[in-house]
């Protein structure tokens, strides 16, 4: 179809524009840093970072694996707990008066500030990292789940009730479907937050993970390694957001395309 082809061309054009934008930044960085004679330990140029990245690939992979694990486990926990908490306040109305203020108060504590406490409580293993990732990811997932699962147009529920809909059918066929875009949106916010939780946890204690690797780069004034770590983390985040986008493409085909709106 000609329409499809032009859409494809349009997409290719946008990808090309994005890539050339990145390329321009890299070029300016590369030659700008050389021109200003900034030393490598302040701002290494892209080619140096790329080389360092390549040299440390195996170490990067190992530590990224650790960070990816704590982040993913923590985020999975925030997803499960966030959705369950949302369901509890939706179906058991009196709980709202307890759960909402407690969570709001809890959310006002900067979780990063209590990270050292977790080291005291849970040691230097993976547990405090998972816990931090979980706590940071929880709030956005909970809030969006309450909206997505709870704020259904009353007329839709009336219609379902008149047709003889049970609570279970209304849950699976209305609430859950309505919540999908809210939850995928929340994941896009919660993922970077959970990653922050993991990395801060690794800064504070332990001997693995990207946080640890970045710190060791700092101690050795190995700035190219620090930048190489940032590159790894960015690639990982990109992958995770890509997974969420894939889920959206599969489940949210019905959504009007944003460009057309």
């Amino acid at each position: 179809m000609p329409e499809e082809r032009s859409e494809r061309m349009e997409r290719a054009r946008r990808v090309a524009a994005t890539l050339s934008g990145f390329a321009a930044i890299l070029v300016v960085w590369q030659f700008g840093a050389r021109f200003t004679r900034l030393p490598e330990y302040i701002l290494p140029v892209p080619t140096v970072i790329a080389v360092r990245f390549w040299q440390t690939l195996a170490i990067q992979a190992h530590h990224l694996g650790v960070t990816a694990t704590t982040t993913t486990v923590g985020l999975a926990m925030s997803l499960i707990v966030g959705v369950l908490l949302a369901l509890s306040v939706i179906y058991i109305k009196p709980l709202q008066a307890i759960v909402l203020p407690v969570l709001a108060a809890f959310n006002s504590i900067p979780k990063i500030a209590i990270a050292p406490l977790f080291v005291i409580w849970f040691g230097l293993g993976l547990e405090p990292k998972v816990l931090l990732a979980f706590l940071l990811g929880l709030f956005p997932i909970f809030v969006n789940s309450v909206t997505g699962l709870g704020e259904i147009e009353p007329d839709v529920l009336d219609l379902a009730r008149l047709a003889g809909g049970t609570q279970w059918r209304m849950f699976t066929k209305v609430r859950l479907m309505h919540a999908v875009p809210y939850i995928t949106d929340a994941l896009k916010v919660a993922f970077p937050l959970a990653l922050v939780g993991s990395i801060v946890g690794e800064f504070i204690g332990g001997n693995s993970g990207m946080g640890y690797l970045i710190l060791s780069g700092q101690f050795n004034m190995d700035t190219p390694l620090v930048f190489a770590c940032l590159l790894s983390i960015t690639l990982f985040t990109g992958l995770a957001i890509g997974v969420v986008a894939l889920v959206e493409r599969i489940f949210l085909k019905w959504r009007p395309s944003r460009r057309k709106r």
Partner: protein
């Protein structure tokens, strides 16, 4: 007058919200296969009445019974159409029409054929796989009507179903509804504030007064069916519309 059995009986219905009465001592009957319209100004409790009849809202006082059975919970055998189409945005046309079957716990595939038949009847052929945002307002509302009729309900409740549409689409929708209704003769209780719509569609019109809502007059519409565009120019049509208007305007003076 032939004695068709009574389908819906509303008796001494009163509904108060807070301090004021929305509906006060309202009584009327709807006979089997009759198309009854409640017409009245905004805020006269028309929609409230419809919700009470459906069992979604309990009355403060009075009784509603459907085929002799008192209504005290959402009734099953009813199709409902609201002012907004309330389609599920993640479902295409067919799937939205099948929603009522799924809510009842029926297998949607068993109703697929009927769904497609209704969609065709509603002139939505070719739009079966479209999502609601790809349909116009009038089309969306026709999907909602198909959905309400899917399970072949013995009572269809319509709460200003064309109220959100522009005037031209609205007139056309009236004829579409007549077409669908004549193929699925069912008892209809319809709410509107359009006099033209009321006269065109109904067998009987109940004119309600503004707050508190009471039945001011009951008007029988003796226009022959099937009705079409010509009906709108029929002198009898204008006469009946005038009668409805007189009853509404009489309240302005009071």
């Amino acid at each position: 007058m032939t004695m068709t059995p009574v389908a819906v009986k509303v008796d001494g219905l009163t509904k108060t919200f807070g301090t004021g009465a929305a509906v006060e001592d309202l009584s009327f009957e709807v006979r089997e296969n009759e198309f009854v319209t409640i017409v009245g100004p905004s805020g006269c409790g028309k929609s409230t009445t419809l919700r009470i009849v459906s069992g979604l809202v309990p009355p403060t006082q009075g009784n509603v019974s459907i085929r002799g059975k008192q209504v005290d919970a959402p009734i099953g055998d009813v199709g409902m159409v609201f002012q907004s189409p309330v389609l599920l945005p993640w479902r295409n046309t067919v799937s939205n029409v099948l929603f009522t079957a799924e809510m009842r716990g029926e297998s949607p595939s068993a109703y697929r054929e009927r769904a497609l038949h209704l969609i065709k009847l509603a002139s939505l052929e070719g739009f079966e796989q479209r999502y609601p945002h790809e349909l116009s307002g009038g089309m969306q509302q026709r999907v909602a009507i198909c959905r309400a009729l899917l399970l072949n309900p013995s009572l269809l409740l319509m709460d200003e179903p064309f109220g959100a549409l522009d005037i031209m689409t609205r007139e056309k929708m009236g004829f579409e509804l007549l077409k669908i209704w004549s193929a699925n003769k069912t008892t209809v209780l319809f709410v509107t504030h359009s006099i033209t719509e009321a006269v065109l569609l109904s067998d009987t019109i109940i004119v309600m007064t503004a707050r508190p809502g009471k039945a001011k007059a009951v008007i029988s519409v003796d226009l022959p069916r099937p009705r079409d565009v010509k009906t709108l120019r029929d002198p009898r049509f204008l006469e009946l519309a005038g009668a409805v208007r007189d009853n509404i305007e009489a309240q302005w003076v009071e």
